[in-house]
Symmetry: D3
Subunit: 211 residues, 6 copies
């Protein structure tokens, strides 16, 4: 690898560091304190991981889905924000049409010197369009992660969040089976029917406690 290439790669790496500090601004509008909002980076990790695991299970149950592609869409889905910042829905709504362009342009700017930039932009674009099952799985993870973050934060307005998350998804997840899985997930978590592992409590009970 040439020095110029390494340098280009490091530029992306350093630029992306901002995502560790950027709060997910939308949560502040739902009543979170600044330190209660997760970072864009932490959210992206959670989304990438869950998207991949869900895709693997769907594939194992016979769905036609590419888990590796799903993972890469999840990894990239919020990268534009490292350049544009996290822009609120209100501003986006008012400036609609302009914004999808802005986010994509930012992503292209970030990755402009990568040898495989066309492939990367394709993943990003697929998420903006939400036509493939892979992109919809990432949207599923994106929304569920927001819901869980709210569920774990007492200053959140949970009812508000549930509605927002629900409404947003209805428009976006066109696959009916996937939409149903999402509703089930919100129900299972919301009703505390899912157990959580807690490393600090001890290894002797397998399912140690409800969230």
């Amino acid at each position: 690898m040439e020095d110029k290439k390494l340098s280009d790669l490091l530029e992306v790496f350093l630029t992306v560091q901002i995502s560790k500090e950027l709060p997910r601004q939308g949560f502040l509008y739902s009543g979170f304190k600044r330190n209660e909002a997760d970072s864009v980076a932490a959210h992206s990790f959670s989304v990438a991981l869950f998207s991949y695991l869900l895709a693997k299970e769907l594939k194992a149950s016979g769905w036609k889905i590419d888990p590796d592609k799903t993972l890469k869409i999840g990894l990239f889905h919020d990268l534009g924000e490292t350049i544009t910042g996290d822009i609120g829905t209100y501003a986006k709504d008012l400036a609609r049409g302009v914004f999808d362009k802005v986010e994509k342009e930012a992503f292209e700017l970030l990755t402009r010197n990568m040898t495989n930039k066309e492939e990367f932009v394709e993943y990003f674009d697929e998420y903006l369009k939400l036509n493939s099952i892979e992109a919809q799985v990432v949207k599923f993870a994106d929304a569920l992660d927001a819901f869980v973050q709210g569920f774990n934060t007492p200053s959140a307005n949970l009812e508000d969040l549930r509605k927002t998350v629900g409404n947003r998804l209805k428009k976006k997840i066109k696959d009916a089976l996937l939409a149903e899985l999402f509703d089930k997930s919100v129900y299972l978590i919301g009703e505390r029917k899912v157990t959580v592992y807690k490393g600090h409590i001890g290894s002797n009970q397998e399912k140690q406690s409800i969230l």
Copy 2:
């Protein structure tokens, strides 16, 4: 997908949320304030992304490497910590032999109900063993991310960090070319020879500023 499977999947998802709050404890020992340390989740995102991009460039320059596998190793490389917590090097040294087992056991516990658990454990194990080029690229990203985090944090003891990062790597990256790339990366960043994109400063200058 059966309900039981969904429930199992959500257990992993909820358990992993802790990684958003877990500080990378090692940084505290290097003099960071609690809020200056990044989270295990944010670090994992940065590592997964950089590992993948580096693997893609290496492959483009003719290296024999599997970028998708690299990405998955990066995604999983710190997942054991969501159950064991971030255990310091000192404690690990004293209890050596015991700890690799503990981390792997924790990872297996976390993923025990996933249909593809064997595949996942293989990725994790590969990182522990560091024999493949893919695993070594993730280790590269892991160390470089620690270095950059320190570089961006004034209360860090930079000299200390540089030495620690350097020493740790020497033992771990067996591929000579990769080790050389790592040294170059630390040099380029440390000497501020890499530019960073800053979305808040304006779009009219392409390379806006040195870190």
Copy 3:
């Protein structure tokens, strides 16, 4: 005052609370940790206060300026952000033309039920246009506050900040004398020629210490 009016007023009050938690996002792009960035509310206070004090001194030295109006422009200058969020310069640049409209629209939305909304919108508009000396004094305060915030934060890239602040101002403060005062202020603070009062250190030394 009618109940409907009180209720409308409280809506503004509650909506504006978000400004206490919103970090000034631009600082994150200059390398600040999340908790090192001040809030939109704290910044607005600092700007309103300094704008007013500066206007009072300018008037006392014979300038033609309305301090009360200056104060009100300072008070309102970032209120649009309580609805749009803090949008980065990059995104603004890409979507230019769209954004001034968005900010003003947001301000109008926030104040739509206030009896004196026309007066308020005029203040806001005056700041967007920067034609009056009062608006330019607020812009002066806005930029100086950013500079001082950076000056007090070790993870800031000071050289970067100085340049950014300087460049931004040159385009905006058309009054030559005011621009000169700004440069002098940056010099005096940057070279640590201004003393600061420190309540915790004791009352016996009048000028206790350099910043």
Copy 4:
């Protein structure tokens, strides 16, 4: 403006920066975590803004009140704390008589080199005495802001806060109509009868959600 005057002005500006970091200490005693308490600066902004808007509405409904003066009292009302720090009610009670003097002295010290210092001290003094309607409107805003901050913070003891805020006000707001407006405000907010604008949720619903 002479250089000496500019320098004096900047001293005030730099000294006041501390207010961005000072937590409203009283909230910690009500059970808030350190980062849940707002800063003295953010509180001052919220109070100045609401005081002004309320005064404007009162005047529009025929009250005899000077909104500009109200705004300036609001702007200055906590400035003494930038030098004395936020001193608790208990300590104030024990040292009563001494403390009003201390706060006023601190304010005078801070503004001692301002050309219009007498005018400024008058505003501050008016707030300490609470005889004018303008000062009482600021006290109203001061108490309501504390109530809302508590309302938005789950670790607050709300019942406690409501009582404290209520008791404090009864002694202080002598104007019966104003006191009634205050009670109504606490009721409307406490019973969640006021809507809030949330920029991140979307622009299509005018009244998007209850707090």
Copy 5:
């Protein structure tokens, strides 16, 4: 005192500073945000103080107990963590046998150059063994402090905490009377039957409010 001794002493002092930043990691696993967890140092202070006060009262009621020794055990009880970090129960369980050794070894390392190191290690060891009434009083304080920290933090799962604290204690406090006092304490606090002094609320009411 020789220079070498002073230097050795300062090494301990500087090393222990980390405890001010180390979050009590276990709380993160109970759902706390990072800044809601107290520090190892703050916890240690609370435990040392309460252990001492409880021992003094027990002695005053006729128990055979050494309050000074109790205090010193409380002071030292978590000092090993300044070197090992806070290791979760899960990891400890898996590596049991190994860990008690690690903690004690870390404590010995920290104090290795102190003239009275044998005495100090004895205190530490006594806490690990929990055979004396003094050590059990410290364990009482350790568990009660965790319970109260949870009680004051809304994102805690209180039921979970109560159970965890209860279970942990049952195995550890062998003295039946002491165990009974502990249960009573959890009951009194949990049912809000204990008053708290709040310095910011005023000195005129002796028992100002329930927690």
Copy 6:
């Protein structure tokens, strides 16, 4: 122990919890960000521990000193602040005479129902008077802890801190040998001649690194 006594004891315990969240306000005036200041509880722990260890070494070198008493003075030395809050030097100076009384009164209030309250008040009083060698050792620890906290925090004005700490001590530590030890300690730490143990770096190097 009677129920009433337990309840009284728990009141002290719950009241003292505030010290975990109270920032050492003085640091904010030295330019610290809010989260860079340690808590009153963490500081108290550090002071109590160091006071005790220093007293033990002094005694071992032949000084006439009671380490257990020193420890108890250290434990109690800032307890008044849990009721009065942390009051700045400026305010204290202006209200001098009044304040020592306030702090002592607050301590008496806090401990009023403890069986051994007279003994406790004696320790507290001894610290206010600074006549004994034990009290002066605690003052030593109190000042050194402030210096080290500043030393570890880049936004601190170190020169300022060194002077402040130095000046404050000169007036207070009357014992000449102790004063000399203090100066030596500041020198050793300030010139980075003391090593620190860092648990995350590894156990194989005994003196791992300079602060």
